[in-house]
């Protein structure tokens, strides 16, 4: 295993349940992974599989139901007072929805400077204003945007403002919660490249949540695939795309169109049948078995653990590990 000091985030057996009318919604159920410093871990899965909840619980935005999240050796959910405040400077979040995550009553400048004020970055209002201008330019906006309100900005501009806000406190770790899914494709690439550039400049660590596999491949060192609250596969980005092991990952990858009509015509696509089952009180066994072409009797009885099938390649599937 890796040395402690190299790890930025260490998640072990994390659980996050929501109590609902019809039962318990298991949004995140026994998820374990770790992220090295300076690394980007992509977290992918379809809508509603618990990616966002997982990410938010990891950075302490939600309370956990069980398990543990360590950031540089400290339990994220036990932090109080000064330690908690220091944590908010180290760990930042880029929110999924740039419309909901920015206060409509504040000017862009105030939004970006909020974290700076909290953490006493910049000596006074004047210096902070200069820092805000610098940040705006860094994320590809202009100074004029500082005095605008959110409703005067476009979706792409808002997402950049969200990025600038997160970077304003000079964090080490950024949880990017689908930072690009609210944007159109032309802007997506710009934002991703911006994130990659910032990572190089500042040595950031990312937890990059997305449902778009091709974009995740572009930015991530390692990728974790999530299905209905559990991790099904975790490996390096290149390995995942070259040798996907879990049937769900294979299906996901085969959904990426290949920009070559001849290849596209020839290849066989794995199309998943059926709907995602409800995460409320899920039955025991493998969560994916209702849609899995290889499902067996064993899958219905025991949940497959995340096992190493080759160095650094973890898969949770009886069919794969039993081979």
């Amino acid at each position: 295993m890796l040395e402690q000091s190299e790890l930025a985030l260490e998640v072990s057996h994390l659980k996050k349940y929501f109590r609902m009318k019809g039962g318990t919604l298991k949004a995140v159920d026994d998820v374990s992974f770790s992220i090295r410093r300076g690394e980007t871990l992509g977290l992918v899965g379809e809508s509603g599989c618990g990616k966002t909840t997982c990410g938010r619980t990891c950075v302490g935005l939600y309370d956990k139901t069980g398990g543990q999240v360590l950031y540089r050796g400290k339990d994220v959910h036990q932090l109080r007072g000064k330690a908690r405040k220091a944590f908010t400077k180290q760990v930042q979040t880029i929110f999924q929805d740039p419309y909901a995550s920015l206060d409509p009553r504040l000017r862009v400048e105030e939004i970006i400077a909020e974290g700076m004020r909290n953490h006493h970055i910049g000596a006074g209002p004047k210096e902070r204003r200069e820092l805000v201008y610098a940040l705006l330019e860094q994320v590809g906006l202009r100074r004029e945007h500082a005095s605008r309100y959110i409703h005067e900005c476009s979706g792409g501009q808002r997402q950049r403002i969200g990025i600038a806000r997160a970077l304003a406190v000079d964090p080490e770790f950024v949880m990017c919660d689908e930072p690009i899914s609210a944007l159109d494709v032309s802007i997506q690439a710009q934002i991703v490249n911006l994130l990659i550039r910032l990572q190089k400049e500042r040595g950031l660590t990312y937890l990059f949540i997305a449902h778009d596999l091709s974009m995740v491949k572009h930015i991530s060192d390692r990728v974790a695939v999530m299905y209905l609250g559990t991790l099904v596969e975790l490996t390096s980005s290149s390995e995942l795309y070259a040798h996907p092991a879990h049937p769900y990952t294979r299906a996901l990858l085969s959904a990426i169109p290949i920009p070559n009509p001849r290849v596209e015509e020839q290849r066989r696509r794995t199309v998943l049948e059926g709907e995602v089952p409800s995460p409320i009180d899920p039955p025991p066994g493998c969560r994916f078995r209702s849609r899995c072409p290889y499902a067996s009797e064993r899958c219905a009885q025991e949940m497959p653990p995340l096992q190493e099938v080759s160095p650094g390649h973890l898969v949770a599937c009886h069919a794969v590990s039993g081979r």
């Binding site: 929110f95 909901a100 995550s101 974290g115 909290n118």
Partner: protein, 306 residues
Amino acid sequence: MDSVKTKLDPTRFRRVERPPEPVDVSYDRGTLRRVWASLRENRLAMVCLVLLILILAASLLAPLSPYDPDLYDLTNKLSLPSLEHPFGTDELGRDYFTRALYGGRVSLAVGFFSMLVSVTLGTIVGTVSGYVGGVVDMVLMRILDIIMSVPTFLLIIIINAYVSPGLPTMIFIISIFAWMGVARIVRAETMSLKERDFVLAAKNLGTSDIVILFRHIIPNMSSAIIVAASLSIARAILTESSLSFLGFGVRLPTSSWGSMLQSAQSQILYNPLLAVFPGVLILITVLSFNVLGDVLRNALEPKMVK
């Protein structure tokens, strides 16, 4: 092919002049403009606004009246409206118009200040209750339920009997029984706002709870508070008038619309107009505040309309 070509002879096409289509560009130009726009659309609301401004201005300018509101002129009692006395005079010969203006000052002051007190109190209780939640919320809401279940008016009368009457006590007593509605609205708004992403983001930036409340939550529900405030002015004016009518309001000879109604009662057979003037003034003021409150609600919370 040929025939097709001839059909497409360009001379057969006529240029049609059309006016350029109006490009509907609507920007959100801020709250004030939105309120103004919906005021202009609504004629009743406009009338109410004008009447309110008139009543407010007249009451503020009351000292300009040539008459002393408390000066008896028994030779000239119960006179009918005339140029000299637009509202006539009462049973003690005092100029009724001047008294109505001074009475308006009392009623409006009570309305305005008890609104301020009750909105402040309601906002504090509501935000704390909604934001902190848990046991605090439960305790505060039960206290609120208890106060709400008390027959307010009777209690006000009883309290009035024990404290020295006067404008400040009046305002205080009315407002301690008027903040509950505001608190409920504010609590509900706070509970929904605190789950919003931008509040989560502020927490994530290390912003303290107090700052989150004042910087993010309260400004974002200002429209709900304004609406509640305008309605609570109307209620406070009504309460004050009822109290004064029953003789528990401000002490005589200071007039208020309610106390004027009361003294007009005994003269109703001789000069019914004495009851009409303060009655109509109360009606117009309360109605106007209510109508404006509704308009504000529609303008500030477009979700409710659509």
